[in-house]
Amino acid sequence: MPYRIEVENLNVYFGESHILKDINIKINTNMVTSLIGPSGCGKSTFIRTLNRMNDTIPTFKKDGTVLLDGKDIYDPNVDVVDLRKKVGMVFQKPNPFPKSIFDNVAYGLRIHGLNDNDVIANKVEESLKAAALWDEVEDKLEMSAMGLSGGQQQRLCIARTIAVEPEVILMDEPCSALDPISTTKIEDLIHKLKHDYTIIIVTHNMQQATRVSKYTAFFLHGEIVESGLTDKLFMEPKDKRTEDYITGRFG
């Protein structure tokens, strides 16, 4: 199976500071890949490079290539809007819009030109079901999303992302602001989604990485120290630094 994402010699700078150094990694299609590493090592910066969210930061500069399905996403002819439709993102803090639950999910559909209300309603239901939230919100779709619990808000954000039918879903520590029960729900959801989506999840919870992902990459000081099958990386790390990190002898 071809790789969905291939990153070659990626370097990222914010102004003067060199944040990501010579990143090379291939991401398999329709599998879950975890990114682990101490905080500040560049995990968020890396996944935000994959949907070009870093473009919103004026000081951002990069070199190297990022291929999605074999095509360079930083090619001048590529439209970020189309790219971000294909590469969805779930953020660390749940960030639903201050709108109704329904409108949150319908938002992406509408901005991409869908205006048949029946179709939208169907899609919203489908997405909420896929995000395992439907049963909880079925009868209060018009309620403000701000009234949901943190875990529900995060699943709503996932539903919102799924609704626009991306190929890839980036998740930046999606559970770090959530309680254990909500975390379990999101992890179950990831298991369900991995058959249809390529998922890249940042986590600093190593158990979570072992539970949800097939592949793992270990970041340190802006470099990928080691990457490969999750089981292998945790059982028999090749690099001393990886071993130190996963055995907790580290930052």
Binding site: N51, K85, F97, K99, H112, L148, R160
Partner: protein, 291 residues
């Protein structure tokens, strides 16, 4: 011990200065009302507000044409100022590169700092002749006043709306952009709706400024007491009426001018209460239940 006494004394003095703004307000209201209420009682509130004729020579004091004058100039100004200032505040908050912002910020400050009488003078020498030449009439008109007021209320609406737009968490924009929305879609569908209460407050305060403006308006409206047939005809506003006639008014006429002041005061206090209420609503609705 003496130190304690000194502290107490100072605290007392500061308290006195602190409540001075309340005392001043009360004093102002008391004086305006005590001078103005007699006229309202003698003319009758209804006749005063809805009376069509203002003619001190024959003892008729109806301010309705002036109310219309104030409303017309104000709303026409808002009609022009709202789109321009909203675009400008969105530009400042979301789009302008730093250099441009460095230029635009002092510009808005500058517009806010220009004296009313300079605006009036500018209107008199530029806008009035322009209207006269291109649209006929004397040029002293509703539209001349509205154009000047538009410029004058820009800074109020722009700066308050900009604050409102800026206070919308960046997380909302990020979420929208990550779904593949364009920047404009994000502004239109996420940022502006979330900032609506602040924007409404901005508009209300801009409206207050337009209603209260005197000198700029007096110099370009022609000050004819009438309900104008078109925006190219002259009018008189409530504020101008006071400024024009205070110099020689006595008796009931004098009191009627203070009654006009009562109307202005009341309207401004209502607008302020409204603005505060809308703003208070914002705080409740944004970020409630967040995390």
């Amino acid at each position: 011990m003496t130190e304690k006494k000194e502290d107490k004394f100072i605290q007392w003095v500061l308290f006195a200065t602190g409540i001075s703004s309340i005392l001043i307000i009360i004093l102002i209201i008391a004086f305006i009302f005590s001078e103005g209420l007699p006229a309202i009682f003698s003319i009758g509130l209804f006749n005063f507000i809805f009376g069509m004729i203002w003619n001190p020579d024959i003892g008729l004091y109806g301010v309705f044409p002036m109310i219309i004058g104030t409303l017309l100039t104000t709303f026409l100004a808002l009609l022009m100022a709202i789109p321009l200032s909203l675009c400008c505040s969105i530009f400042l908050a979301e789009i302008a590169p730093p250099n441009m912002r460095k230029l635009l910020k002092p510009t808005i400050q500058g517009l806010a700092g220009i004296p009313s009488v300079i605006y009036g003078f500018f209107g008199l020498v530029i806008i009035v002749p322009f209207i006269r030449i291109h649209f006929g009439g004397s040029g002293f008109s509703v539209i001349s006043a509205s154009l000047i007021l538009t410029i004058m209320i820009l800074p109020t609406i722009i700066s308050i709306s900009e604050d409102a737009l800026r206070s919308i968490p960046f997380e909302y924009s990020e979420a929208s952009l990550a779904l593949g929305a364009t920047q404009w879609q994000t502004i239109k569908n996420v940022i502006v709706p979330a900032a609506v209460p602040g924007i409404i407050t901005a508009i209300i305060l801009g409206m207050g400024r337009a209603i209260g403006e005197t000198m700029a308006v007096i110099m370009v409206t022609g000050n004819v007491v009438q309900i104008p047939g078109s925006i190219f005809e002259p009018v008189r506003t409530l504020t101008s009426n006071i400024a024009l006639e205070m110099g020689y008014a006595t008796g009931l006429h004098y009191s009627a001018l203070f009654s006009t002041g009562i109307i202005l005061l009341t309207v401004i206090v209502i607008l302020l209460l409204l603005a505060n209420y809308v703003n208070y609503k914002t705080k409740v609705s944004i970020g409630g239940g967040y995390l």
